[in-house]
Amino acid sequence: MSSVESTDVLVVGSGFGGAIVAYHLAAGGARVVMLERGPWLETGEFEHDFKLGSSYTRIFDFVVGDGMSVLGGNCVGGGSVVYFAAMPRAPRFVFERRGSIARRMWPAAISRDTLDPWYDRVAESIPITQQGWQDVSYSGGLWAAACNHAGRTANPVPAAVDTAKCVNCNWMMAGCRFDAKQSLLLNYLPAALAHGAEIRPLHEVQNIERTGDGGYRVHYQLVDDEDYRVTTGSGTIDAKIVVLAAGAAATPVILQRSEATLGPMPYAVGRYFSGNGERLNTAVLNEERVREVLGLEHGDGLAYAANQIGKGPTVANWDRLDGSLPEYSRYSLEQLYFPPGLGTILALTAGSDPTWFGLDKKEMLRRWRSWLIIFQMIEDDNEGVFGPPPERGNADRLSQQMLGIGRLSYKPTANTQAAWAMADAEVKDILERDGLATVTPWTNDLVGAYTVHPLASCRIGDDPHTSALDDRHELRGHPGIFVTDGSAVPGALTVNPAMTISALAERAVPGIVRAARERGVEVVYGAPAPDGSTSGRRGAARLAEALLSR
């Protein structure tokens, strides 16, 4: 009799990729345990506070790499708790991308048409609202008006925000205190718990080994709930199926560390990382010109001066999302809010050196209320590569919370740099017209490029040389291990990725159910949406059937 703990399905990470799979497997009858390295906070614990140690630093993660820093969630609910909830679907051309491998990088089985039913399942499960102009924040409205003035279109962005509850506090990164943001804490995760899944916070998975019976043993360390540099114990759990969903900055690191026990990993594990082509520009608006040129004004005689107000991104320009344009010249330009704390250091003055610190920077900060941040998502070249893993987790933790040093190296190629330059020039063209603003890109010289959208570091594909997973998300050469988070997405999407990550996770479930059944787990596929709705299930039924029987 051994005291080894065991379960049917072990899920690593509780963000989109983890929560969705955990819900369906638990609802289908499997025993499911989720291990999450971060803490478990409830709505009342989300604070409006920049003090270190408040919810903002407890649930947020900032890993500095060589040429790329990654920001993400570190809590039960993962990125869904800290994210800005923009949930657009990826445009059709994205699935035809060739990227750095000179042939289609998505599996032949996936196109916008075959993913749409899975997108529908997500939209039914995480209430996504099509925002109207009355929901758009001042900064979104300003961006729309500037786009219009420059002869462009602009769209309110669909968002997982209940606008009736939203108070436009712009504290989304610290967790939503008002349950307006429809994070996973409000849908998939409670539904998974209701079906008997367990969530264990402050459990950081380190590596995986094989057990004698074709299953896996997962090793974790217990993390101190205040000082994440400290571990307080360790343990293992055996499982028939392991689902890795630790995020694209962490999943490949767990697999690299497991190579010693599991044997060689596919070449694409820890390669082809994409930052979703992300880059930010800061515009400092001339309030008088905003009034004169755009005719904008709100209470107190203000034209704009409303950087602090809103709910993250509300309006995007999609004119360049045109499949007839060449690859690396298609991108979206989305208005965004990035709070102080991390959101000012990389902004540059338009003057002479030094541009990121010093006297001129202080003057720029004095005009913070008139800042407008524009977020570019271009097509990058999947040029990120992970070095050998650190001692634990995916970073050497520097601060008690949030800040660590990871092993990701990212040297932007000429394609990526040219796409950024093109997008920079367009933002400048739109916002500097008629003296509206002064625009500068954030610097890549301090912490490299940066992304809140890590992708593709363990991706799906048809070609075993350039993809770590088959099109059912199973790790090549390691049956029973699946990856369902952002690392599975083949490349940059030109829009925010959570909707696509979620749709792929929904699509991966039938294959995981099938693998679990083959390993003797009594589980069925076919749960409704977490709230019991069934139209999404109906829409995807035929596709699910095909995946179940492959």
């Binding site: 409006h48 506070d49 920049f50 003090k51 270190l52 657009p88 679907r89 059709r92 939209a123 925002q131 102009w133 009355q134 758009v136 924040s137 001042y138 409205g141 729309a144 008006a145 219009n148 279109t153 602009a154 769209n155 309110p156 962005v157 669909p158 108070v167 436009n168 506090c169 504290w171 205190r177 709100h298 602090q308 107000i309 809103g310 309006v315 999609w318 999302l321 709070p339 102080p340 704390g341 000012t344 250091i345 050196d353 030094p354 610190f357 010093g358 006297l359 920077k361 202080k362 900060l365 913070w368 209320r369 520097l398 008690q400 919370q401 800040l403 040093i405 010289d445 301090l446 912490v447």
Partner: protein, 176 residues
């Protein structure tokens, strides 16, 4: 004193007294030092606290090298970095944080916390910092929260269409 001079180079401020040597005094109101940069750096939650003596020593060594290169005679009654003029401090910090400098990441993380002290008062509860007139949050115009410590903005939208939608938008609002 050396670290104060570094913080003052990142976000410069007004001298606290006529005798203030660390703060160069090139700006008319409080900068990173007045914002609490040293308090933040000395809080071990940042992860840089243990290394602060090393940081100060390093800055002073680099200052001596710079002085030697430029033939500057430094006032020996204060640490070498403090003895530099504001422009010289700025040039030195610029080179220490430039791409390719072997110690770049150390100096960037020190600068990050100095900036954070100013732009978000990360050593204090935000609402208390605003109530106390924190120089950074005040200068940036960060508004005060409601009485329960939470921010709400009842007015948030121009409330009218401000551009045409992209012609290829799906009924649910996504790109086609």
């Amino acid at each position: 004193m050396t670290l104060e001079a570094f913080a003052d180079t990142i976000i410069p401020g007004v001298k606290r007294s006529p005798e203030d040597r660390a703060v160069a005094g090139v700006s008319p109101d409080g900068g990173a030092v007045a914002a609490g940069a040293i308090e933040l750096l000395e809080w071990d939650a940042t992860g840089v606290t243990d290394g602060l003596d090393g940081y100060a020593g390093g800055l002073n060594r680099h200052a001596l090298t710079l002085a030697a290169e430029r033939g500057l005679a430094l006032d020996e009654s204060v640490p070498p970095f403090v003895a530099l003029s504001f422009d010289e401090r700025t040039a030195l910090v610029g080179s220490l944080t430039a791409p390719g400098h072997p110690e770049k990441s150390l100096w960037v993380s020190l600068a990050l916390f100095c900036n954070m002290a100013y732009d978000s008062a990360a050593h204090t509860h935000t609402a208390e910092a605003i109530a106390a007139g924190h120089p950074g949050l005040t200068a940036m115009g960060v508004t005060a929260p409601d009485a329960d410590g939470l921010w709400r903005f009842p007015s948030y939208s121009y409330g009218r269409p401000l551009a045409d939608l992209h012609p290829d938008t799906t009924p649910t609002g996504s790109p086609a």
